[in-house]
Symmetry: C2
């Protein structure tokens, strides 16, 4: 499959009501690619500093992630994020964001990646997303993520991204902020008017839904017994979703619906471990087993 992701590779410091861990491997592109790699090879474009451990890149390679697109700035420091979750898991406070080498990141898509048909633009400043996308020579299905910050301070550039992509993933708060609509169904329709043919709304523990051409599909989250760390769940959802589509090389409604299920179960593994731990130890058979379980949970 030819799936490209551009986003962050990071070291995160995460506090939950139950634990605190410093400098664990994280970043949107890391979560995404470890998730999508269940379905085939993933091409990763990103940047790290001289402090980024070789062993962490090897963790990616071992899972089938192509890291030739990871640029290393030897005299720079990797992207770092620190955040804290409250006991309800829905409230997250960002304690610190150090852009570091990501601040002046000018993404370079290696020649070997440029024919990628499936492209995921993980959360980044819109101009960085556009810069990566314009290097792709034959994008077939492009999906972007974003965040409240860009909706607020880079609205015009973000609107340009929306005009150029096939799909966008947003959480409920972002969808409301972007459109001014309280109703998520109305918000999704307004987002589609801005360009993307497909809108995926993520609602965390309440699941996700897809609205697009000829398709509407709603799913609850997979009911995990215990959440350890929700960091990266949205990127894992996107990774499972895009990974399945890219492997199937199909974006028909029936395939999209199955992709939503794979995204949901992939995210469920993510939240059961700290950082990317549970993603790394997951086997494909477990994914399939949980897929079937969720399917039974939602089938009449």
């Amino acid at each position: 499959m030819s799936l490209l992701v551009i986003g962050t590779l990071a070291y995160d410091t995460i506090e939950t009501p139950y634990a605190r861990r410093e400098n664990v491997l994280g970043g949107s592109a890391v979560y995404f690619s470890l998730s999508a790699s269940s379905f085939g090879a993933v091409r990763l474009v990103g940047v790290v500093g001289g402090d980024f451990e070789k062993v962490d890149l090897e963790r990616l390679s071992q899972r089938g992630v192509d890291i030739r697109g990871v640029e290393r700035v030897s005299d720079g420091k990797s992207f770092r994020w620190a955040g804290r979750y409250e006991a309800d898991w829905n409230t997250r406070t960002t304690l610190e964001t150090q852009l570091n080498v990501f601040e002046h990141f000018d993404p370079k898509v290696p020649k070997a990646y440029r024919d990628s048909r499936y492209v995921f633009l993980a959360n980044a400043e819109p101009k960085v997303q556009l810069r990566a996308l314009e290097q792709c020579t034959q994008p077939g299905f492009v999906v972007a993520d974003t965040m409240n910050l860009w909706i607020e301070i880079r609205r015009d550039e973000l609107l340009e991204v929306l005009r150029r992509v096939d799909g966008i993933v947003l959480n409920d708060e972002e969808a409301r902020m972007l459109t001014g609509e309280r109703s998520l169904i109305k918000a999704a329709a307004k987002v589609r008017d801005l360009g993307p043919r497909y809108v995926i709304l993520k609602k965390g523990e309440h699941g996700a839904f897809l609205v697009g051409e000829n398709v509407r599909y709603a799913l609850p989250a997979y009911p995990v017994d215990q959440v350890l760390d929700p960091t990266g769940a949205g990127d894992c959802f996107a990774g499972g979703f895009m990974g399945y589509l890219a492997a199937a090389d199909c974006v028909e409604p029936a395939t999209m619906r199955r992709a939503m299920l794979y995204g949901t179960v992939t995210a469920s593994f993510c939240v059961q471990g700290f950082g990317v731990e549970a993603l790394e130890s997951r086997r494909r058979a477990q994914l399939e087993s949980r897929f079937n379980e969720l399917l039974e949970f939602v089938t009449l």
Copy 2:
């Protein structure tokens, strides 16, 4: 069908960000019975004061609700509730609750109702629920509702109710309060350990799920364009659910799942009107149409 409900008939004063209405027909048993009556006759047990308008009882009769079990206390005042919703619809503040004739309500189940096989004990003090249930001679499938107040101040009596019913409907907050479990899946399992074979967890705009013997089923809410007034949505869900089961006279898993869908679409009509307005104007064909639409929305 032989479906009995015991609960409140009330006059509500409701404030939303868009409107304020005084003394509109409401009450748990009113919302429930207007919903369940789409599927057949409903037997209603409740109490009203001398101030309760005859025309409001006629509104119920016209929809197929048997009101012979509604006691009138001529020198008393009907139950009254006032509440306000914030713009997110999820935050509700109770401004006033006047129990009035409901305070010393001793439910009397008419002889003609006592053979009811399907029984819904709407939210009331647990001892009132038990008093009604013990008059039923052959209850086959009994479901109860409750609220945070009884979990706090009438825990022992509520536990007695739980031991005697087949199913319980709870919202997420109540389930967590009752069990001390944050995870709704774990909470549902703990509630089942307290007695009910079936637990229905209502999550408002995020849908509902059912956990019981041989069945687990999750549904999103039907995506309405606009919410006017969420009052009574939970009772309408229960009314659609129980009404369908009673009409089918079956509680097999496949029937339960369909009943969950009917509960969901019934609640969706409720929130689109003020008070019971939208329930009254709804036609069975609209219910079926929305049933099919929701089914498509959740089917792989």
